[in-house]
Symmetry: C2
Subunit: 404 residues, 2 copies
Amino acid sequence: MINVAVLGYGTVGSGVVEVINTNHESINKRAGQEINVKYVLDLRDFPGDPVEKILVHDYEQIVNDPEVDIVVEVMGGVEPAYTFVKKALLAGKNVCTSNKALVADKGRELMEIAREKSINFLFEASCGGGIPIIRVINSSLTGDEIDEVTGILNGTTNYMLYKMSTEGCEFDTVLKEAQQKGYAEADPTADVEGYDACRKIAILSSLAYSEYFDYKDIYTEGITKITPEDMEYAAKLGRTIKLLGTSRRNEDDTCYAMVAPFLIGRDSPLYSVNDVFNAVFVHGNMLGDAMFYGSGAGKLPTASAVVGDIVDAAKHLHTNIFTNWNSTPAKLRPLDQVSGRFFVRVKREAAEEAKEVFENAEMICLDQLPEECAFITTDMTQGEFCAKAEKLGDKVLAKIRVKD
Amino acid sequence: MINVAVLGYGTVGSGVVEVINTNHESINKRAGQEINVKYVLDLRDFPGDPVEKILVHDYEQIVNDPEVDIVVEVMGGVEPAYTFVKKALLAGKNVCTSNKALVADKGRELMEIAREKSINFLFEASCGGGIPIIRVINSSLTGDEIDEVTGILNGTTNYMLYKMSTEGCEFDTVLKEAQQKGYAEADPTADVEGYDACRKIAILSSLAYSEYFDYKDIYTEGITKITPEDMEYAAKLGRTIKLLGTSRRNEDDTCYAMVAPFLIGRDSPLYSVNDVFNAVFVHGNMLGDAMFYGSGAGKLPTASAVVGDIVDAAKHLHTNIFTNWNSTPAKLRPLDQVSGRFFVRVKREAAEEAKEVFENAEMICLDQLPEECAFITTDMTQGEFCAKAEKLGDKVLAKIRVKD
């Protein structure tokens, strides 16, 4: 029997208990032993809930119990998660977590402790909810050198952009609706400003390129400036707008990573990833294009990923599973030197000037927006683009990156 | 150093050597040891090719060399692959294969030998080329009970159907073009009749439901009867036609599996899987919907999947990786009892009769096809459907399954 302690009985924590209870037979078979939830840690009480009998309020009871083999951290946030997880690993207990903030901030150190102790620190559920992208990069695409990872990594903002594109509503209206539906939190900053996606692309990039990406160094732009007018142009261009976390390894071994809204075309497999779904696109030097799609969040999909890690930990209680993540910091190329195309909206009176500055850019005009027009630039570095856009000053109404 | 012998220097075999050479540094790092191709077995000679020096014509040299740790079988076909692989396993050598015919036909026995010997028989590349779907089902979705697997599992037919839908050409024209491009073989039977997809859905279903699916028991219908007219109706209905391998586990623990062309709608994540791409959709009782997309065939994507298995075998040379595939045959529900909807084309003069037989089915007429009309049935068992369709006799011009 493998004894598990679940830290935090919130959405994911209660989901983990539910998955283990519902599928216990097949899970035990795959783990090779019975998986038993021995403790649930939470500050609250849950009178009448089946976990009442195994609920503890004091973490010391868990970390000091030699029968606990696996600690499942699903509290979220860096503290006290970090302190608890570190103690568990130092006590020789395997840890599975869904906590992207913890992994992005302290993952390096925690993986190192796990390696030294021949145990595991697993975090499949930290990126992409139910999409098993971490194990795919770590254990399946081992014959490949990955040169691009691009994902729709945040379900809340994907839902909001989808609603804006299909129903033409304003950002604020959609945000309120998302909050009412429970898709967005009361303080939506982490989602709409891209901070959540930033931590996820930092984790995925660190795994994909085996160099450490510090999330604090990643340029991050949210979706708060996106308007229904942007969506109208996107539709006219046969495109849509998605918040992407994207990173690339260049041939000179430099990398870049960023989070920003992008106009993407119908040819992209990410184009039809709608609603609260997430997807991660990966390009490998041998594999070519691949994409992994699924529920980006939600109680049970995320819990399913955590339980997948519990099964893996159960099979490798005293063997460290190789994680392709090392401590060498990635050489990030300055964003100014990163090339791409841009969608730009300008005041109608600046159309001729814009054509001059942007080398005969082809103007698109919409009947319903008579006071402006828009265009897509040729490929240029962001430095060049900013210099050119500056010449147009406040005649520029909006600029959004374009992904080919 | 881990010594590998590659059986067969055709498309996939030469790809495996190329992947190992190109990415040797990262592959060795992930395998924890140097991966060395010690032998290549082929009946032919390859004068001037770098493998010339390690080429052997006699399999005994490989199987009797105690230095060979991993045998890579990429010859295709059941024999002599089966004899070679069995000998390798009995000699204690791990085996990685891309051979779906071998896995579908003999996989059960070969996995059993590997288990007894504490070695591995790995076959990631046998389904979906570069898509790492086998390891995902086997090692990631272990917290879930999967109840549906549906895939576009054959690149050749997906390319052909895509061309038929976008360019309106006839089956024969598209087949010739596919053959000229090297996408279809001179004898295209295995692809266009669905036999290839049948073996793949048998393998995926056996893994997903941990019951053995015999490919010989799976109803298989190819794409040879699909016409440009079918595609015109599909477009009118906002749908497209794809060859799907699909299986389901029902709540009463019966299963079904089939390969057939289906009309699928825009809401399906499989709708926009075009060209030679493959994709596998999986539904889990906790995970919900997930989809995995990538190159379905091709030298390097398939070779990349084989090399991923080589790395895994190198890390588990003397430890059997649990495979969720057992020998209990699946209880297949007779096809007659499987429910679904059907798209039916009838002669225009039979429209009223068809409405009567199919309970006020709504008729769709296309201007360009004045002598016929079509409709989609309500949900009914295939037995019911056949009985009804029989009443219309030769007034039925075409019938294709519909997937919701």
